[in-house]
């Protein structure tokens, strides 16, 4: 049963990494800065998820406080983009439909 848990944890780690890689495509393409702001929010959630998978796989608890800080402060980057950058941004919505 331990082997099944290990397989499931490795699969979860792979899925989180795949999600992060796919999210980088959206950060690269995303026609406006607002899309990138949303993507950065999701990236903070994925970083929390990755730290959680690592903590569950190795049964360490020293990174849970880092999860807490990222969950608490991850929204500030997107708020800053939405407040100060995106209002001056002029995207071309037809460039990458």
């Amino acid at each position: 049963m331990t082997e099944a848990s290990d397989i499931l944890l490795n699969a979860a780690l792979g899925v989180v990494l795949l999600a992060g890689a796919l999210l980088l495509i959206r950060v690269w393409r995303g026609p406006s800065m607002l899309d990138r702001a949303i993507s950065i929010d999701v990236m903070a959630a994925l970083i929390v998820a990755g730290i959680g998978v690592h903590a569950a796989a190795t049964r360490t608890r020293y990174y849970l406080s880092i999860m807490l800080v990222i969950a608490f402060l991850g929204f500030t980057s997107s708020v800053g983009i939405a407040r100060f950058i995106a209002v001056r941004d002029r995207p071309n919505p037809k460039a990458h439909p």
Binding site: A11, A45, A71, R90
Partner: protein, 130 residues
């Protein structure tokens, strides 16, 4: 007792994998949906349900009340702060006219200074912080 530990490990691993799959589905939605508002709705998927399932899985693997409290705080702050960012992003999207190709079905911000081509800067209308 040992059997129950193994069962808790297995259920925790299942919850971790399901949370990761929920996060992946949200990211696929982010890639495929057409505009800012629909992408924002897809982005709530890993931020809420994904984090909930993942932290439940981690709590079942660690099995310590201090860690359960920390993970509950993670979920609490994630649920508290992600709507703030989503609200600001959606408000700026509405203000700069990036609400998709078609007209909105319901527009509660219709009279509050929507600009079609993008703003020159923050507007002094005082209608909100976004």
């Amino acid at each position: 007792m040992n059997t129950w530990h193994e069962v808790a490990d297995l259920i925790g691993s299942l919850l971790l994998l399901s949370g990761a799959l929920v996060a992946l589905s949200g990211v696929i939605g982010l890639l495929r949906l057409p505009d800012v508002l629909t992408r924002s709705s897809a982005a709530t998927n890993p931020q809420t349900l994904g984090i909930l399932l993942l932290t439940a899985g981690v709590a079942l693997r660690l099995r310590s009340w201090v860690d359960v409290g920390t993970l509950a705080l993670v979920v609490f702050f994630q649920l508290l702060t992600s709507p703030v960012a989503a609200h600001l992003v959606a408000r700026v999207a509405h203000r700069t006219g990036q609400t998709g190709a078609g007209p909105l079905l319901r527009d509660d911000l219709a009279g509050q200074g929507r600009q079609a081509t993008g703003g020159e800067g923050p507007e002094p209308d005082g209608s909100g912080t976004g």
